[in-house]
């Protein structure tokens, strides 16, 4: 059966007049955007109580597509804008969607300090291991030896593990999902939003146009099958050796710490001390 109408989920959470989106055929970002919508839907949070903040890059186009309060900010600064929004409206669900380069290179400092402060933001990283929008330059998550337009002989850098970086910096909820593992990733985004404190979900996307083509990973289907074949649950990974885990993606909740003071609540305590009658 053919239709011109979008599904109920898409109608409710996306600005359908801007669809189809600009992402390439088979881009994992479209799947991950639906995951964000589904997570909000499952949590039954009103659209008007959500603010979605993005920076610059392919993934950051999401601020134009999703029908929440949205703001498309400058490169790497989404977390800085989100921090201001959360302080002004602590009751609001503030979500940052960012690419791997945006969050860990240009905005790397904002990431580690927001994690350290444990501010109640949910950062959903659309991690495709490359700068897609600008033409396939290698990013901080491009694996060593892989090709990019700026690494024609192979990337010589060691990649960042964004999840480990966030955990090390003090994030109190860290998980890793993929475009293929949609059901699990929706749950992780839900749990990240529900978690009081800084939450980061590192979502492995797929860029068939640049990363896939440059590195002969096949098309969108092959890249999704790679995620399917190489995703290992946290529970299974616990019983595997480092050698067995080489080249695998550990999927699931990687870290959660409860009871750590949250930034906006701590800030409010200071305000209360100086408020007459407070």
């Amino acid at each position: 059966m053919s239709t011109e109408k979008p599904s109920a989920l898409i109608s409710k959470y996306l600005r359908t007049q801007h669809l189809p989106h600009i992402w390439c055929p088979g881009c994992g970002h479209g799947i991950l955007m639906r995951d964000v919508a589904k997570a909000i839907d499952n949590l039954k949070i009103d659209n008007d109580n959500v603010c979605l903040v993005s920076g610059i890059g392919c993934s950051s186009r999401i601020a134009g597509y999703m029908d929440f309060n949205t703001i498309h900010t400058t490169h790497g600064r989404a977390i800085a804008f989100a921090t201001g929004i959360k302080l002004a409206k602590p009751e609001m669900t503030v979500i940052v969607v960012a690419g791997d380069g945006d969050i860990s290179a240009i905005g790397g400092n904002h990431l580690i300090h927001a994690a350290r402060r444990n501010i109640d933001l949910t950062v959903v990283v659309f991690n495709n291991d490359i700068y897609g929008m600008t033409g396939g330059q290698y990013s901080p998550t491009t694996p060593k030896g892989e090709l990019g337009t700026t690494a024609p002989y192979g990337n010589i850098d060691r990649p960042f593990d964004i999840s480990a970086l966030a955990k090390g910096a003090g994030a109190t909820y860290v998980a890793r999902g993929t475009a293929y593992h949609a059901v699990q990733t929706i749950k992780m985004i839900q749990d990240g939003i529900s978690h009081k404190g800084f939450a980061l979900i590192d979502c492995i996307s797929a860029c068939p146009t640049y990363y896939g083509r440059k590195n002969k990973k096949g098309g969108a289907v092959e890249m999704m099958k790679w995620q399917q074949a190489n995703g290992v649950s946290v529970e299974k990974a616990a019983g595997m050796t480092a050698e067995e885990l080489a080249g695998k993606l550990v999927i699931g909740k990687l870290h959660q710490e409860m009871g750590v003071p949250e930034f906006t609540e701590e800030y409010q305590r200071i305000i209360d001390r100086f408020t007459v009658g407070g």
Binding site: M1, T3, L19, P20, P25, C27, V221
Partner: protein
């Protein structure tokens, strides 16, 4: 309330992900667009909807319609 499989050809970019992950070979590609080749095999699992990057295929709720009309 039943569900039926629907396709929005206007949004389909022909990536083929839904065809690859359909467990029942319901779907096929035709002129770089998705086609429902055999809906009778569809088990309404929603694997296609879950992974379509373009929201071009999904299960729609069918309310107050007979199964025949829903097909």
């Amino acid at each position: 309330m039943g569900k039926r499989l629907v396709v929005n050809h206007r949004w389909c970019k022909g990536c083929g992900i839904c065809v690859a992950f359909c467990p029942k070979e319901v779907l096929a590609m035709k002129n770089d667009k998705i086609q429902i080749a055999d809906e009778s095999k569809c088990i309404r699992c929603g694997q296609c909807e879950l992974r379509c990057p373009d929201y071009a295929i999904f299960l729609e709720d069918v309310i107050n319609k007979t199964t025949e009309e829903a097909q």
